[in-house]
């Protein structure tokens, strides 16, 4: 029998030792997405405005953030700005992930808003609604629904990208795996544990988004 250099029985044994790290991963992801959604909605709407005072900053934000790596953005926030403001590592990770995702979510919202037929806005205006009312009551509810599938995709990317917070010393799953790997000399085993954690979390997230999609779908056809 071949003697493998790995001890896979360590996987179930050490698995519970990653709970706290997984919780941190979930926290960064959750609050990062929350910040991203708010930033995304605001900049998505600004991006659609005809007023250059509104759309130019939005375009610049999306251009810069999508055009540079998240890892660099995290380092700028945590290490780079240290002389200006000292941000703790957790808030820095959340802010970084939020700002990064905001740019992508802005584009998702913009696409979804633009995909709502022109006639919807026209019908709303023809009833005497203001542009704001038409947006809030008629266009946004339809756009939100259409943005659910791409948002689900973005949330999964965000969850996995939260592993980059390890680079600014947040003891989330990946950093925990590296530390445990070094101390136990079982690097592959520890990395596989976090692999399982990520897979479990993305699977649950996927199922959740599928559920939401289904729920929203039926709401239009309910008799």
């Amino acid at each position: 029998m071949i003697d493998l250099p790995w001890d896979f029985t360590a996987i179930p044994r050490f698995f519970p030792g990653f709970y706290a790290a997984a919780l941190l991963t979930l926290q960064i992801t959750f609050f990062g997405i929350l910040v991203g959604l708010i930033l995304g909605l605001v900049t998505g709407l600004m991006r659609l405005s005809k007023n250059p005072i509104l759309n130019m900053p939005a375009k610049a934000y999306i251009w810069v953030i999508r055009g540079t790596p998240l890892l660099l953005q995290l380092m700028i926030i945590y290490y780079g700005l240290i002389d200006l403001v000292s941000i703790d590592r957790m808030p820095a990770a959340i802010l970084g992930l939020g700002v990064h995702n905001g740019a992508y979510i802005a584009e998702i919202f913009r696409g979804a808003i633009q995909s709502v037929e022109r006639g919807q806005r026209e019908a709303a205006l023809s009833l005497g609604m203001t542009e704001t009312q038409a947006m809030r009551r008629i266009i946004l509810p339809q756009a939100f629904k259409r943005s659910v599938p791409p948002l689900g995709n973005q949330f999964i990317i965000a969850l996995k990208d939260s592993s980059l917070a390890s680079a600014i010393a947040v003891r989330e799953l990946l950093l925990r795996a590296r530390q445990m790997g070094s101390s136990t000399l079982m690097m592959l085993e520890m990395l596989m544990i976090v692999g399982v954690y990520y897979l479990l979390m993305t699977t649950v997230l996927n199922l959740l988004m599928g559920r939401i999609e289904k729920l929203l779908e039926v709401s239009d056809y309910k008799d």
Partner: protein
């Protein structure tokens, strides 16, 4: 009710409305005909300020309105519009569609709005569909909901932009019937449509447009049986 003077509209280099002068009296039913691209839909959309003319004047009930008017939305509330593709709100029930303008624009209390909505749905023969979503309706039913939705605002005039041209032939009749009833009740209407039967039965005037101009207008019997202009003749020859 509506007075249009020297209206000109361009889409880029394309001159789509050329020196349009037109009046619509209260309770009058005007049917606008013309080939696609003749500017008839654009004219209608200018009257509801979904498009803005670059030159000329539009007076609704004696008050001039244009792109710079501050209360454009209140002007629009007085002008009902029915679209070719219905444009119902898919995320609202039939009742939700009908009372949207009432609750949001007129700030009518919900209960009162629903009562009014029930009356309107009865009028268009769709009382049994009040709490169904638009996706469950046929094209003819959708268009009747759209008419009820516009009527809810108690508009001074109703504009119909090819209301039956997206419908299967067997569904055209039910929509025209609702429109006829409206005309009989004395609603001022401007209808872009090639439905000759409708124009003959309830139309007071037919306006023929070509290449952005009003070429000929007159009572339906005259326009359809005895057109004077060569272009009107050629056009009617094609559609009849």
């Amino acid at each position: 009710m509506i007075k249009i003077r020297g209206l000109n509209k361009w889409f880029g280099d394309l001159h789509v409305l050329k020196d349009i002068d037109m009046d619509v009296s209260p309770k009058e039913v005007v049917v606008v005909i013309g080939a696609s691209g003749s500017g008839k839909s654009t004219l209608l959309r200018c009257l509801n300020f979904l498009e803005f003319a670059q030159k000329g004047h539009i007076y609704i009930d004696g008050v001039e309105a244009n792109a710079k008017s501050r209360n454009l939305h209140t002007v629009r509330a007085d002008v009902g519009m029915v679209f070719q593709h219905f444009n119902l709100f898919p995320h609202r029930t039939v009742m939700g569609n009908v009372i949207e303008g009432l609750t949001q624009v007129k700030k009518t209390p919900y209960k009162e709005a629903v009562e009014h909505g029930e009356d309107l749905l009865r009028k268009v023969g769709l009382s049994d569909k009040a709490y169904v979503y638009p996706a469950m309706l046929s094209g003819g039913q959708k268009q009747r909901v759209a008419i009820a939705r516009a009527l809810a605002m108690k508009p001074k005039i109703m504009l119909f932009d090819e209301p039956t041209s997206a419908l299967d032939p067997e569904l055209v009749g039910e929509v025209l019937q609702v429109m006829k009833n409206l005309a009989i009740e004395g609603m001022t209407m401007m209808v872009v449509s090639h439905e000759m039967g409708f124009a003959r039965e309830v139309g007071d005037r037919v306006v023929y447009m070509d290449e952005g101009r009003i070429i000929e207008e007159g009572p339906p019997s005259e326009i359809y049986s005895n057109p004077k202009n060569e272009r009107t003749k050629a056009f009617l020859g094609q559609i009849l």
